[in-house]
Each structure stands twice: as C-alpha cells, then as structure tokens.
Symmetry: C2
Subunit: 389 residues, 2 copies
DNA sequence: TTAGTTTGTCTATCCAATAAACTAAGTTTC
DNA sequence: GAAACTTAGTTTATTGGATAGACAAACTAA
C-alpha cells in the first residue's frame, strides 16, 4: 500500500510554522510585521504561529526595535540554546567531538587520539567523549537534540558501518549502540557526506545549492549535495569517487578496479612517493615545501595535477556550482592549487567550466565534525516539522 | 526576496486532488469508495474532488462494478484522451515524432530523414512533422497539452540549444521558435535525458527510482534519474559522461580532456575500428556478427569491455538501482553483453554491485521520442497541480 | 496638541476536510 | 419474498486553519 500523506489543516499549519521559523532563522532579529511581509502570510497568522513558537521555547521576544514613525516593533529571535547537538568525526586515529547549539555554534570541543582500532575500544572512547560533551551542555528546553557521527566508511540506512577499510570494521551497528546507550536520535553517515554538509552550512560552500566535497585524506571520499540535499545512492551510499578509475589500464586496486583515482591523488599516494625522498608524514613534507625544497615542490605539483584530473571528471559529470577540496590535503593548498586549477581548466568542457568554482575547505579538519552536528540539528528540525504542533 | 509559497486551503485541495487523480491513474477502474480507502481521504472528500475532476474532463464514470453484498460501485477512469502530447526525437540524420494521449499511449507516429543539418532546414522539417502530428489529434477537452523535444546537445533552462556538436548547432533558441509558432507549452531537453525518462516510464526502468540511462550512439550521453526526478546540474546540463576520462594519459579528445570514454566505447569508436575490416555501418557490422565472423565478434567483445569500464565508474559514483543501455548500441546486445557484464562485475565495488541491475533499453530507438512526449505530459500535470483548481 | 504611521490583536468570515448520519441499492438468509 | 445485512455514495454539522479588515496601542513629526 502506498498511502501518500494526505493534506489537511494540520499540514498547512506545519508548513506555515516552518516558514515563520525559517524566516526568523534567516533574518533575526525580526518583528512580526516584518515576518508577515517577507513570508506573505497574514499578520494575524504570523502572530498566532509566533505565539506557538514562543510557547514551544523556540523563539523569544528581545525588546523593541527602532520605529520609523509608528509603534515600535517587538523584535523576535530564535532561541539557539533551546537545545544542543553532538557532532562526532570518527577518524582513523582520532575522535573529534563537538557540542553545538541549534544554530551550530560551538559550545564545547574535544579531540582525543585513538590507539586501537577494534570496534570495542573505539566505541569505549567514543562513549566517553560523548558523555563528556553531554555533561558540558547547559540545561535547556529540549536538552540534547541528537547525535551525529561521520565515519570513514560505507554506512547503510540503519546506521550500521558496513565497511570501513582503514578501521578494518565490518558490520558494526553504530547507531544501535549509541541509541541504546543514550536513547537519543542518532544519525550516522560517511565522513565525506558529513564534511560536505559542514562546508555547505558553515564553510566555503555556504548557500551553494549543488556542490561536491572532495575529502582527500588517506583515501579519497566525496560528498554530493544536489539541490541543497545530500545525495545518497540507491542503497544509501554513493560517492565512492576515490575508486573512479582514471586509468583503465593502470595498476590493479584493492577494490577490483584498475587505476583508481585515489591511487594517484590521495595522501597515501603522496606519502608513498615521498618516502623515497625521506619523508614519512604529510606535515614534514609540507614543512619541506615551505622551506622551498625543489623535489618536494615537484611532488606536490604532480599531486595537484592528479587531483585536477579527477575533479575535471567530477565537473563534467555533475556540473556542480562548486567543488570543495577538504580534509588533510587542503593543508597543501599553497603548493597544489596552481597545477590543480590548470589541469581542471584544460580538461573540463567549456560550458561547465564557465560556472564552477574551485574552493578549498574553510573548516579544515573540522568540516566533518561540524557537519555531523548539523546532521543532528537537521534531524531535530525535521522531527519538529513532522510533529502535529 | 525568497517568498516561499505559503500554505493555505487551496494548497490542501491541490494536494488532495493530485492524490485522487494519481490513485485513479494507478488503479483504474476504481470506485469512489476504493479511492477513499487507498488514499486515506474521507469518502465525502473523495466524492467532492472526483466531481471536480469530472467537471474538469479528466475523469469519467464508466458504469457499475461488481458488488460483494451491497450497493454496486460506480467505476471511474482517467480520460486518457482528454488531451494529447507531441514528443520529438531530433536526431543527427532523422526526426522521429509521436503523438500520444495523456497516458503516453501512441496515437500517431512519423519518422523522416534529415538531409541538411543547418538550423533553418531542420526547423522547417520539424515544423512540418509537428504540424502533421497535431493534425492527427482528435478533438479533445484540452487539445494539445504540450510539445517535448529531445536534442543531441546541451540545452539551457530557456530551452536554447547551446551546443550540439553533431548538428553543428550553437545557440539555437528552439523553445522560443516552437513556442512562437504553436503557442503551446514546449519542453526541450537533452536526448539522453529524454531517453532516461522514456525508459523509466515506459521501458526497462519502469518504477525504478534511481537509474542511469547510457545513450550509446555516435557519442555517449547519459541521463540521470535520481529520487525519481531527472537530475540536471547547476546550470541545467550535466551528465556529459561521454567525456569522463577513463584513461588520463590517453589520446587528446576534442573536448580538451584525454582518453574520454566515448573515444573507446561509442558507435563512432566501433566504426573506426570496423572500417579496417571493411564495414562502414553498424547494421552491416551486426549482420556480420550474426553470420559468425570471428574478427567482428572480437571487435564487439572489446566494445563491450570498454562500455563496462565506464559503467563500472558510473556504478561506483552513483550507486543507482539500475543502468540502462540505450540508443543504437543496444542493438548489439547479443554480442556485447557477456564481456560488458564481466567487466562491470570485475571493476565495481562489491557493496554497490549487490544491488544494481544492468538492463538494455526496451524501447530501442524510440526511448527519447517517448520520453520527450512524457516531458510534455508531465508539464501538463504540473500546470494542473499548480493552478488554483 | 494634532495628524499621520506602524505594530500587533481581535472579530467575523471563508473554506476544505471530516465524522456521523443518512439515503440508495444491492445480496444473503431462512 | 421479507427481513437482515452490506456496501456505495451524499448530506449535514462541526472543526480548525487562514484571511481581510477593523481596531487599539504606541510611536513620530510638526
């Protein structure tokens, strides 16, 4: 049975309440009259819906504003600390956690290293990190609104980590574990998807409707935001563009394909070549680049070119408004940007190139963590909209 | 100003009218009581909305149905010939046109060859084709509901053909030309997008939410249907996957990139190799394959492999429910399918492979034409929904 | 003080969906 | 074949939103 949700008066009210809340979120501080004008809703309707939002502890009056020759307006604002969200970036050798308010403003932050990668010790550390963040949350009307987690692997709709090669995880029911312990709404997603969201809301991709976030770390992951929404494939995971083959006749990859992009353009690929020059870590390599070492500069220029090859493919396929390069490799921006841009320009169809922006992550290593918090916040608002106010 | 459409009673009525119409479209013949049960709408509401649809010539009563111990139900059906749609596939050396009813059932069909490719002679032929199809339309309540056209090139939001390499067109304002002549709603889109829609509604991809249609002809185009909707990139065109590089170090392509997929796997690529064997046309080549010529079979097997290389990339990136191979190369199915499937299996990530179907177009060369008609039909229903009933 | 302006609320009205009663038109049972 | 039961579709009264317009409150300008 395909029972489409039918339209009734409650639906109208939910829609209009969402419009009012959205208007306040975007333009606060704002008066009722201004909301009415901007939204097209009747003044009386706005008054009534605002009262509901005030009763629901989501909006408050913050005194009067300036008058232009009449009664002074009563200004309204969203109560950002009506609740808090936990965002986690579960990395390969670290856990980065953040507590934010409902606007995404950071309230507390914790980073801790991971020594062991097995699910049990990692979840133990994860629990302690979350416990600590939750204990930092001031009391509020809605408490902890949700927990979002970005993980370096494939995640299914049930929030289980199907496969995380660098953690060597298979089938870890992360959402169930967290839900069982905290009894809170939990969202689990790929690290690149979380990063894409983070950059779209708080970083380089603010207000860009279609963007591709390319997370260049040990491997290469991608998060797609199409029509303002995260795109996930048929079974909930897509964007494995690290395994897009850029050389069909190249070396075999562990994934079964040949000549995968991440074999040429990832941090791992860079470090493999760098070890011949005597560098074992990205940080050391970049320090050498900073010092002007010619061989290192050549290596980085080459990596920029390989990144550009894959990004040109991405632009040709998706024709996005922007491509954002994130994760650890974004630190190498000064030394890869020139060759990267040159390659993309050379290899991209003219019509696409005309409109695409090439950006680097503004949030650096915090993209995924802040994006994960945003996933939790978005879930909170979605549930709000769905409930019969 | 971002004036979100606000919710009011008219919106409810539009939503519920759409639900009722959809229910009838899916399950006709159907009684009012059955609609009420399936949709969850109250019987009285259904009665009232059905009356509106009857008044609007979209639904009619077709006598009583069987009773199971009570009053006999009055059966309803959608009036498929309340209007008609014109669908055009504008090819490189042909125009294929169809007149369908609002269900997409073919009423009349016309194919004509194109000798000259300049915009003026082509539009002349196009007008004559459309004139003739329109004259075939029986009188109806809504008349010609719209015209849809699929073209082999990039199309912008205004319905202008920005660039069609094989027609050598640049900046032809096709929608404006057709709109000016017929005063009807006109939809212009890429041939691959039209084909994707055609196969999703009428062909191999029926009821599949996420599919990639790969149109393998002279070049390779792709149409993406994500979440049941055609995906177009930021500026209205995407899916130039023919120019996805599968060999970053391969031969330069006219597009500026190197080793583009369509240099290896298109009809043109096949025919270039085939000419060494003495074949100049795909049909002749396939006849030779039918006759068991070993060299030709080897050539086709190779093309299958190259197609598989690109499709594996597509599957890794989009993780769709299905990939549909269409256009002229679908005729070669018997000789390319084995190597194609083998290559895709070898080169695709296990998690994605598990769920993806590999299909061949069921509509053959008619995909794009029927998809174009569907674009016009969809436009008609969208306008219906938008109008304050 | 007076006139004009802006904000926000109140009131009467409209409109779509709904539940429940009702009419219509059948079938089943004995 | 009459009574009992079933199902289809309509009518009626009610509910709960949004709205226009009147209005009161609170301000500015002069």
């Amino acid at each position: 049975m395909t029972t489409t949700p039918t339209g009734d008066q409650a639906l109208i009210k939910r829609i209009n309440t969402a419009i009012v809340l959205e208007t306040i979120l975007r333009g606060a501080p704002l008066s009722r009259a201004a909301i009415s004008e901007r939204s097209g809703l009747n003044k009386a309707t706005v008054s009534s819906l605002v009262q509901d939002l005030i009763d629901g502890s989501l909006v408050r009056e913050i005194g009067t504003g300036a008058s232009s020759g009449g009664r002074k307006p009563v200004m309204l604002e969203f109560i950002a600390d009506a609740g808090h969200a936990v965002g986690i970036d579960l990395g390969v050798n670290y856990i980065r956690g953040v507590l934010t308010d409902l606007r995404g403003t950071v309230v507390a932050e914790r980073t801790l290293p991971l020594k062991r990668l097995e699910p049990e010790p990692v979840t133990g550390e994860l629990f302690r990190c979350i416990d600590s963040l939750i204990s930092d949350a001031p009391p509020s009307a809605y408490g902890i609104a949700g927990i979002g987690v970005g993980v370096p692997g494939l995640v299914d709709e049930a929030g289980s980590v199907l496969f995380a090669p660098n953690l060597k995880w298979r089938g870890v029911p992360l959402r169930r574990l967290l839900d069982g312990r905290y009894g809170l709404p939990v969202t689990i997603d790929n690290e690149a998807n979380a990063g894409a969201l983070g950059e779209q809301i708080f970083g380089a991709g603010r207000r860009i409707d279609n963007l591709v976030y390319v997370s260049v770390g040990i491997g290469i992951g991608t998060g797609l935001i199409l029509h303002k929404k995260l795109y996930k494939g048929a079974s909930g995971f897509s964007g494995e563009m690290g395994h897009l083959s850029v050389n069909a006749f190249g070396e075999p990859c562990s994934c079964g394909n040949r000549g995968c992009w991440e074999m040429y353009a990832s941090e791992r690929a860079l470090l493999e070549k760098a070890s011949a020059l005597g560098y074992e870590e990205l940080e050391a390599l970049l320090a050498a680049a900073e010092a002007g070492r010619e061989d290192v500069l050549g290596l980085l220029e080459e990596i920029g070119e390989f990144l550009g090859i894959g990004i040109a493919n991405i632009v040709n396929v998706f024709n996005p408004d922007a491509v954002v390069i994130g994760n650890r490799m974004s630190m190498a921006r000064p030394w890869i940007e020139t060759s990267l841009r040159r390659t993309v320009v050379q290899r991209t169809l003219g019509f696409h190139l005309r409109n695409v922006q090439l950006l680097f992550a503004e949030l650096g290593e915090r993209s995924a963590m802040l994006g994960a918090a945003q996933m939790a916040i978005a879930g909170f608002f979605d549930r709000l909209k769905a409930s019969t106010s």
